[in-house]
Amino acid sequence: MTKPKEKPHLPLGLARRGFTGVIQHLAASRAGSALSDAELESRLIELGFVDGAKVEVLHEGIVGNDPIAVRVENVTIAVRRREAMAIIVA
C-alpha cells in the first residue's frame, strides 16, 4: 500500500470541465468578488460548499468558459469563476 499522492491545491475557479476533487477550505479574499468576504463565504456555505464536500465541474458557459456548473455532493450549482476562486479544492 502506497500512500495516495497528495493532490495540489487549486482554486475551483481555475478548474476545467471534468475536474473532480474535494473542498479543502474557503478563501473569500482570493475571489475579488463584489461581495464582502463574510457574505461570499456565507452564500457559498448555504449552497453546500463546505470543507470535505466532493465537487465535480460538469459544464462550462459559452463566453470565456464562464460560469461553471459544479456538482457539490448531490446538488448542481452554477457559479461564476470569479466567485469560484474562493473555493480551494484538491
Binding site: 468578488s33 463584489a34 461581495l35 463574510a38 457574505e39 461570499l40 463565504e41 456565507s42 452564500r43 457559498l44 456555505i45 448555504e46 449552497l47 453546500g48 463546505v50 470543507d51 460538469l58 459544464h59 462550462e60 458557459g61 459559452i62 463566453v63 470565456g64 464562464d66 460560469p67 456548473a69 456538482r71 455532493e73 448531490n74 446538488v75 448542481t76 450549482i77 452554477a78 457559479v79 461564476r80 470569479r82 466567485e83
Partner: protein, 618 residues
C-alpha cells in the same frame, strides 16, 4: 389557524402550495415591496380551516434580499399585518436534502412549531434514495411528513400530521433565540446537517442519469445555445403570431358589440360612452389575455421542467455585459410582442433591483402595437427602393427602429445601474440547477389561471379607468351646434393638444399630431385612427392607405421621421404604465418610466427633425 411554507428554491414548494390550496389562491404584493405574496386556504381532514402562506424561497434566514427578509420576518412574527404562523412547514426536495436540512436547523432556533415535509418522495424512492423517516425525525427533533405534491392524495400524510400537531397547539410557547448566523455557525449547521443525513439517508451511487444526459446536450456550448435560440424562437412565434388571431377576433367582437350599441342607441353621449368608453375599455383589457396566457404557459412549463435555470446559466455572461440578470431575457423578449406580459413576466427574476431594471427598460422593446404606426408612416414616406440591389429601404428603416429600441434599452439598463443603484453590489450569479422534472398539467394550469385572474382584477381595473378617462378627454366638451370640424377638435384632448403643441413645434409636430397623441395614450395603434379622425378621414383602420396619402400632403419627411423617432421611445401606452404601477406597487416607478421615456422621445425627435431639415427634408 395560520400555516407558512418555507423552503429552498426548487424544493417543490409551489407545487405543494398548489396541491394543498388548489385554485383558492390570492396573489398580491407585500405592502411597499416588489415581492409577491401568495396566500391560499384549505380544510384539513378533521375540518380545521387553515390559511396557508407561501413564503419566498430561501437558503437561510439571513435575509439577503427583500424577498428573503419577508420570509424571515413572517417566521419571526416581525411583519405587521401578518399573523405569526402557528405551524411552519419546511419543504424539502427528498432527492436533495442537504441544503434544506441546514435551513431547518436554523429554523428550529426561532421556536416556531415545525414540520419537515419530504416532498417529491416518489422521485426519491425511484432514484434509490432511501430515507429512514422515523430516525430522521428523532435526529432532528422535528416531526417529518412525506409528500408527493403532484399526485392525488399525495399530501395525505402531511395533512394527517398537521391535524395532529394543530390539536395540541398552542403548546407552551417556545422561546425565539434565533440570531443572524455568522460564517462559523453556518458551517457548523451544514456539518450537523451532513452528519444527520449520513446517519439517516442512503443515497444512490449514481446521480440522476436523465438530468445528466439532458444537460450534456442543453448545456453544451454550441448545442445548448442552438436549443436556447430555438426555444426562444418558438416562444416568440407563439406570443407574436399564435396570439394574434385570437387577439384580432377578440377586438373585432368588441367592435361588433360596440356597433350593436351604436345602432340601438340614439346618437349622443350615452351611446358614445358605452361604445367608445366602456366596451372599448373592457376590450382593451381583455385583448391582452391571449398573450398573457401563452407567455405564462411557456414560462411555467420551462420553470417547472427546470430549464429556466439552465437558460439563465447560458445567458448569464451575455446579458451580464449589459448589467442585466440572466433571467431578464424572457421578459424582454416577450416585450417585443407586448410590454404588458413582458413586465408581468419579470416575476421570474428574484432580485428586486434586477427586476425593477428589467421593468423600466421593457417598454423600449418594439412592441406589436407600434407596428401599425411604423408601417403607416414608412409606407407613406419611405420609398420602397433597393439599396445595393438587395436591401429594401422600407425594411431597413423598420430594422433600424427595432435596433434603436434594443440599443437604447441596453444603454438605459447601464444608466439605471449607474445612477440609481450605484451603492448596490449586484448579486453574483449563483444558482442551483435543479434536476429535470416533468411539468404537471394541474400545477401549470393553476399558475396560468392565477396570473390571468390577477391581470384582469388588478391591472385590468387601472387600464379600464384610464381608457374611460381618455374617452372623456376626447369627447368633452361636445362640439357646438352646426360645428363643421371633427368632434374631437372641440374636446379637452384638443385643448390639451393645442396647449402642448408649441412645445412639440421644435420637434416638427403640428397641432393635429399633438391632439392625436392624447387618444393615442390608450394604445399606440390608436394614434393611427386618431390622426385619421383629426384630419377628418372617415373609415377607421381600413383607411390606413388613404390616411397615408393625405399625410404625404400635410407633413414634411422630417416631421414623419421625427414621429417615427418619437414612437420608439415615447410612453404612449396607458396600459403599460398601469401594469408598472401594479407590478412595482408604486407610482414612483411609473413617473420615472414616463419621464425618462418622454425625455428620450423628445431628444430623439428633436435630433431627427433637425438633422432631417438640415439635410433638406424639411
Amino acid at each position: 389557524m395560520h400555516l407558512a411554507l418555507v423552503g429552498t428554491p426548487n424544493s417543490g414548494k409551489t407545487a405543494l402550495f398548489n396541491a394543498l390550496t388548489g385554485s383558492r389562491q390570492k396573489v398580491a404584493n407585500y405592502p411597499g415591496v416588489t415581492v409577491e405574496r401568495k396566500e391560499g386556504s384549505f380544510v384539513t381532514p378533521q375540518g380545521r380551516q387553515v390559511s396557508l402562506i407561501d413564503l419566498p424561497g430561501t437558503y437561510s434566514l439571513r435575509g439577503r434580499s427583500p424577498d428573503e427578509e419577508i420570509t424571515r420576518d413572517v417566521v419571526l412574527g416581525r411583519t405587521s399585518g401578518e399573523a405569526l404562523p402557528d405551524l411552519v412547514l419546511c419543504v424539502a426536495d427528498s432527492t436533495n436534502l442537504r441544503l434544506t436540512i441546514r435551513l431547518l436547523l436554523e429554523l428550529k432556533s426561532t421556536g416556531r412549531p415545525l414540520v419537515l415535509v419530504l416532498n417529491m418522495f416518489d422521485i426519491a424512492t425511484r432514484r434509490g434514495v432511501s430515507v429512514d423517516v422515523a430516525q430522521l425525525s428523532d435526529a432532528l427533533g422535528v416531526p417529518v411528513a412525506t409528500s408527493i405534491a403532484v399526485r392525488k392524495g399525495g399530501t395525505f400524510d402531511l395533512l394527517r400530521l398537521t391535524d395532529e400537531l394543530l390539536e395540541h397547539a398552542p403548546g407552551k410557547p417556545r422561546e425565539n433565540f434565533w440570531q443572524p448566523l455568522g460564517v462559523p455557525e453556518l458551517r457548523a449547521t451544514q456539518r450537523e446537517a451532513d452528519r444527520i443525513i449520513a446517519a439517516t439517508v442512503s443515497l444512490p451511487a449514481r446521480p440522476d442519469t436523465w438530468t445528466a444526459r439532458i444537460d450534456s446536450v442543453v448545456l453544451h456550448p454550441v448545442g445548448g445555445l442552438a436549443i436556447l435560440l430555438l426555444t426562444l424562437f418558438i416562444m416568440f412565434q407563439a406570443v407574436f403570431a399564435w396570439a394574434q388571431p385570437l387577439m384580432e377576433s377578440l377586438s373585432s367582437s368588441f367592435e361588433a358589440i360596440g356597433q350593436v350599441i351604436h345602432e340601438t342607441l340614439p346618437a349622443g353621449l350615452l351611446q358614445s360612452f358605452l361604445q367608445n368608453g366602456v366596451v372599448s375599455g373592457v376590450g382593451s383589457v381583455i385583448v391582452f389575455l391571449p398573450q398573457i396566457i401563452i407567455i405564462f404557459l411557456f414560462i411555467l412549463l420551462l420553470e417547472d421542467f427546470g430549464y429556466m435555470a439552465r437558460a439563465a446559466f447560458l445567458m448569464d455572461r451575455i446579458m451580464g455585459g449589459a448589467g442585466l440578470h440572466g433571467r431578464a431575457f424572457i421578459p424582454l423578449l416577450s416585450s417585443f410582442a407586448c410590454a404588458i406580459p413582458g413586465i408581468m413576466a419579470t416575476r421570474v427574476i428574484d432580485n428586486r433591483r434586477d427586476r425593477l431594471t428589467t421593468i423600466l427598460i421593457a417598454p423600449l422593446m418594439t412592441c406589436s402595437a407600434r407596428i401599425p404606426v411604423y408601417t403607416l408612416i414608412i409606407s407613406a414616406f419611405i420609398p420602397p427602393k433597393l439599396i445595393w440591389g438587395w436591401i429594401n429601404l422600407q425594411g431597413l428603416v423598420m430594422f433600424g427602429l427595432y435596433a434603436a429600441g434594443i440599443v437604447s434599452a441596453l444603454g438605459m439598463s447601464f444608466l439605471i445601474k449607474f445612477f440609481m443603484w450605484r451603492d448596490y453590489q449586484p448579486a453574483p450569479f449563483m444558482l442551483e440547477l435543479p434536476d429535470y422534472k416533468m411539468p404537471r398539467v394541474r400545477s401549470v394550469a393553476i399558475g396560468v389561471y392565477t396570473r390571468a385572474k390577477m391581470f384582469l382584477q388588478r391591472a385590468g381595473t387601472t387600464i379600464f379607468s384610464m381608457m374611460v378617462l381618455i374617452w372623456f378627454l376626447a369627447s368633452f366638451p361636445q362640439p357646438p351646434e352646426g360645428a363643421t370640424d371633427p368632434a374631437i377638435n372641440y374636446s379637452l384632448a384638443a385643448a390639451i393638444g393645442k396647449t402642448i403643441a408649441p412645445l412639440l413645434l421644435p420637434v416638427g409636430f403640428n397641432w393635429q399630431i399633438a391632439v392625436a397623441l392624447i387618444p393615442g395614450m390608450a394604445a399606440r395603434e390608436v394614434a393611427v385612427a386618431a390622426i385619421g379622425t383629426v384630419y377628418a378621414i372617415e373609415g377607421g383602420k381600413q383607411a390606413a392607405t388613404q390616411i397615408g396619402q393625405v399625410l404625404t400632403t400635410k407633413w414634411s419627411l422630417a416631421t414623419a421621421l421625427s414621429l417615427l423617432a418619437w414612437y420608439i421611445f415615447a410612453p404612449q401606452c396607458a396600459s403599460t404604465l398601469a401594469v408598472i404601477r401594479r407590478e412595482t406597487g408604486s407610482w414612483r416607478y411609473v413617473a420615472l418610466t414616463f419621464i425618462y421615456m418622454l425625455t428620450l422621445a423628445y431628444l430623439a425627435s428633436l435630433a431627427t427633425y433637425h438633422i432631417a431639415v438640415a439635410l433638406g427634408a424639411g
